[in-house]
């Protein structure tokens, strides 16, 4: 095993500083990726603030810190923001930065469309938030169930802001999905067959396919809803022959694949990070890739498990319960592969790795509570309680966000040319780990005790005050974690240790070029012969291509 790494000597000479105009007009995938990340971090602050305000309101029973209407707006905007303006853009941002570098390309297949997607996302997000200045933000939940969204129950324009903000940003997301598919299918370096693609690329490809499948139904449903509200159509009005259930089907046909759209890139990140920090090749590359495809396939057939409490037929309940159980199998395969990769490895417990280990633990808890909710009788009991809130936060926060943090610490040197501070990174991890569990684990208990979600307060006789107070304290700890991250990010950008081209002794193509890479990525398009092209160069005595 290599003990030293070839790190080029750094000089103080660096490319000239870029002007704002260059960033605004850029079509460079790396800059676009970084702008996605920065915009998503801005929206993360917004969504985090909304969550903190909700948690203060829930500090004790019958607390009147917030008005009920304000609480409704906050949970709607928190959910909407985290899904559409934080989770996806961060992942798309990483994808933008990394996909061309990892496949040995100079840019995305459609660079201008890439810029278009970025601006649609940013402007769509701002349009949605502009509703705050227009008399009130949307208050119908991120799921916007009919008939609450009808003009009768949702007066004013807030729901229309929700519709149009998401439709326009969704257009950007869709263009990004098409771009990823075209790029990965057509622009891989010579020799990079499907069987040699990095697993992050596999995940992004499957993710992009899911985006293309899942977003059009949402856009169609939103168009119908807009017609209902603006032009008096009756698609979702049961009084006029429409169907409120139709909205739920269309929304969740998007909504559940969306969960996998949010988690698959994080799977890809940890599939890249764990092998590097365990100093082992990923265990069962083929099965990880195959499980990803299987997850995407099954993910399109589980949407009605969000609707068990609706009273659908037994046959439908059985089918969707079964398919939901089934998706645990490919997911379990991945967990097995990551753990098997760790087994016997020479593990380096640096910040990217500990976030990946946190991911494994937290996602496991979220996955297991998901299996519990797949059982229809259990779902009937726990539906619309804080148990469900705990479940999806363990999946999307404990899973996706921990993976994203791991990705930040791992690829930040490639983006900036500097390492993030390890000490602050570990503080970041432990504060987040403690704060996250303090916030969300008690929600399992308060949920099972009957605390309903999306309600601005609760009955003191329910006996859930203590669990809510723990959750609120947890949010404060999380806030400290995010502050540490921000300090680390800004401090490292200014004066972090120079990273060199390949600070982790890694194996994929992005580490072949400089940190940060030039506009053209590679002077010469590399040719690859195995899944770990840099390993082959570092270890000509035992290259991977002899074994694959």
């Amino acid at each position: 095993m290599a003990t030293t790494v070839a790190v080029p000597e750094m000089t103080d000479k660096s490319p000239r500083r870029s002007s704002l105009l260059e960033w605004v007009t850029t079509v460079d995938h790396k800059r676009i990726g970084i702008m996605y990340l920065l915009a998503a971090l801005f929206f993360l602050v917004c969504a985090g603030t909304e969550a903190a305000l909700m948690r203060i309101q829930l500090w004790k029973a019958r607390f009147d810190f917030l008005e009920p209407d304000t609480f409704n707006q906050l949970f709607t905007m928190h959910g909407t923001t985290m899904v559409f303006f934080v989770g996806m853009p961060i992942l798309v941002g990483f994808g933008n930065f990394l996909v061309p570098l990892m496949i040995g390309a100079r840019d995305m297949a459609f660079p201008r469309m890439n810029a278009f997607g970025l601006w649609m996302f940013i402007l769509g997000g701002l349009l949605t938030y502009y509703s705050f200045l227009q008399g009130g933000a949307p208050d119908v939940g991120w799921f916007a169930y009919a008939p609450l969204t009808s003009a009768t129950f949702s007066r004013g324009m807030s729901t229309d802001y929700w519709i149009l903000g998401l439709m326009t940003s969704g257009l950007g997301t869709l263009s990004g999905g098409i771009n990823f598919i075209a790029t990965i299918l057509t622009m891989r370096a010579p020799g990079m067959t499907f069987g040699r693609m990095p697993l992050f690329i596999w995940m992004m490809l499957v993710d992009a396919v899911l985006i293309v499948i899942a977003f059009p139904p949402l856009t169609a449903a939103q168009t119908m809803l807009l017609l209902d509200r603006q032009l008096g159509a009756h698609f979702f009005d049961p009084q006029q022959g429409g169907s409120a259930v139709l909205w739920q089907h269309l929304f969740w046909f998007f909504g559940h694949p969306e969960v996998y759209i949010l988690i698959l890139p994080a799977f890809g990140m940890i599939s890249e990070i764990i092998p590097v920090f365990a100093r082992k090749v990923i265990f069962g590359y083929e099965s990880v890739a195959a499980a990803t495809v299987l997850i995407a396939f099954i993910a399109c057939g589980v949407w009605a498990h969000h609707m068990f409490a609706l009273g659908l037929s037994r046959t439908i309940d059985i089918f969707f319960s079964g398919s939901t159980f089934l998706i645990a199998i490919p997911t379990g395969i991945k967990m097995f592969n990551w753990i098997a990769t760790l087994y016997g490895g020479k593990i380096r417990f640096q910040t990217p790795m500990i976030f990946c280990l946190g991911f494994l633990a937290m996602f496991l808890i979220g996955g297991l509570s998901g299996v519990m909710l797949a059982a229809v009788p259990f779902d009937w009991q726990a539906s619309d309680t804080y148990f469900v809130v705990a479940h999806f936060h363990y999946v999307l926060f404990g899973g996706t966000l921990f993976g994203i943090f791991g990705g930040f610490y791992y690829w930040f040197p490639k983006m900036s040319g500097r390492l993030m501070n390890e000490t602050l990174g570990k503080w970041n991890f432990w504060l987040l780990m403690i704060g996250f569990n303090l916030t969300f684990f008690p929600m399992h208990i308060s949920g099972l005790m009957g605390m309903p979600r999306r309600i601005y307060t609760y009955d003191p006789e329910l006996g859930v005050d203590i669990w809510n107070q723990l959750s609120t304290i947890g949010v404060l700890v999380q806030a400290a974690a995010f502050i540490v991250f921000a300090v680390n990010l800004i401090g490292s950008l200014r004066s972090g240790e120079r990273s060199g081209d390949d600070p982790w002794d890694a194996w994929t193509l992005e580490w072949l070029t400089t940190s940060p890479p030039p506009a053209y990525n590679f002077e010469v398009i590399p040719a690859v012969r195995s899944r770990r092209p840099l390993w082959d160069l570092k270890h000509p005595e035992d290259p991977d291509w002899e074994h694959e």
Partner: protein, 279 residues
């Protein structure tokens, strides 16, 4: 889109080779910066904003969007919209990847960490599937015997099993559960067959990993383990069965399944794994 690279099969070492086609490779053609995607985006957002506020914004947005599209299309005409990015100075280019200081020592049998404990021969997965189905039959026979011995009839156990998905089983009186129901039979058989098959497959994979006492593990330890799990979760999985199951007979049938599957899997002839083929 960037132009095709000059050297497609160059060594992967970050080193720029001498040009072989007579052209300079000191610049790389890339798409140039452009504001048209931003103009189009702003136009589309203004269309949406106009719907929400004042329709005149929408008209303005349509004009902006059209201007953006025209500008965009103009840029992708041949010979336009690209720049020639100069390669960085030599000192700022990536250094060639160096060979690691320490060579990899290939693992060999007998070395610590060598995975000799991984089986080079395993029972075929099909053995697990077959054994699972045979074990399922053994379990069903025992359940039928229980039905007869308890006086509730042979349909009672399968009706209880179907209660996992049949809602009316919750409220049916016992007498009703003793009768033949086609739907319950189909569902019960399906659940039983799928469960038996999956557990059998797991046996087929896991048993070869057990160094000794495979039948004991398969016949006693594993059934005891999953019986405990089922006991703990039965209220959720199948409330009807949880209320009415005879746990002694239930656990006995699990043992019967485990022993049958264990014996069949262990007695099946082993085949080489891919590891064995490579060797």
């Amino acid at each position: 889109m960037s132009t095709p690279h000059h050297a497609s099969d160059t060594p992967l070492d970050g080193h720029v080779p001498a040009p072989d086609d007579g052209h300079s490779i000191e610049t790389v053609e890339l798409p140039g910066p452009t504001a048209w995607p931003l103009v189009l985006s702003v136009g589309l957002i203004m269309v949406a904003f106009g719907i929400l506020t004042n329709i005149s914004f929408s008209f303005l947005g349509i004009i902006m969007a059209l201007v953006g599209i025209v500008g965009w299309v103009t840029e992708i005409l041949p010979g336009r919209g690209h720049i020639h990015e100069e390669l960085r100075p030599e000192e700022l280019r990536p250094k060639p990847v160096k060979r690691a200081d320490v060579d990899v020592i290939p693992m060999a049998p007998g070395m610590p960490g060598h995975r000799m404990h991984m089986p080079e021969k395993v029972h075929p997965y099909s053995a697990g599937a077959k054994a699972g189905l045979v074990g399922g039959v053994a379990m069903a026979v025992l359940a039928a015997i229980y039905g007869v011995v308890s006086g509730r009839g042979i349909w009672y156990p399968v009706n209880l099993l179907a209660g996992m998905v049949l809602e009316e089983a919750d409220t049916d009186p016992v007498a009703q559960l003793e009768q033949f129901h086609l739907l319950a039979l189909i569902l019960g058989l399906f659940i039983h067959a799928v469960g038996s098959l999956f557990v059998g497959l797991i046996y087929g994979i896991v048993l070869p990993m057990i160094p000794r006492g495979r039948v004991l593990f398969g016949g006693l330890v594993a059934p005891l383990f999953w019986s405990g799990c089922l006991w703990a979760s039965m209220d959720v999985l199948d409330p009807v069965l949880a209320q009415r199951v005879d746990w002694v007979w239930f656990i006995a049938s699990q043992f019967a399944y485990g022993i049958v599957v264990g014996i069949i899997v262990v007695r099946t002839e082993k085949i080489h794994t891919t590891r064995g083929w490579r060797a």
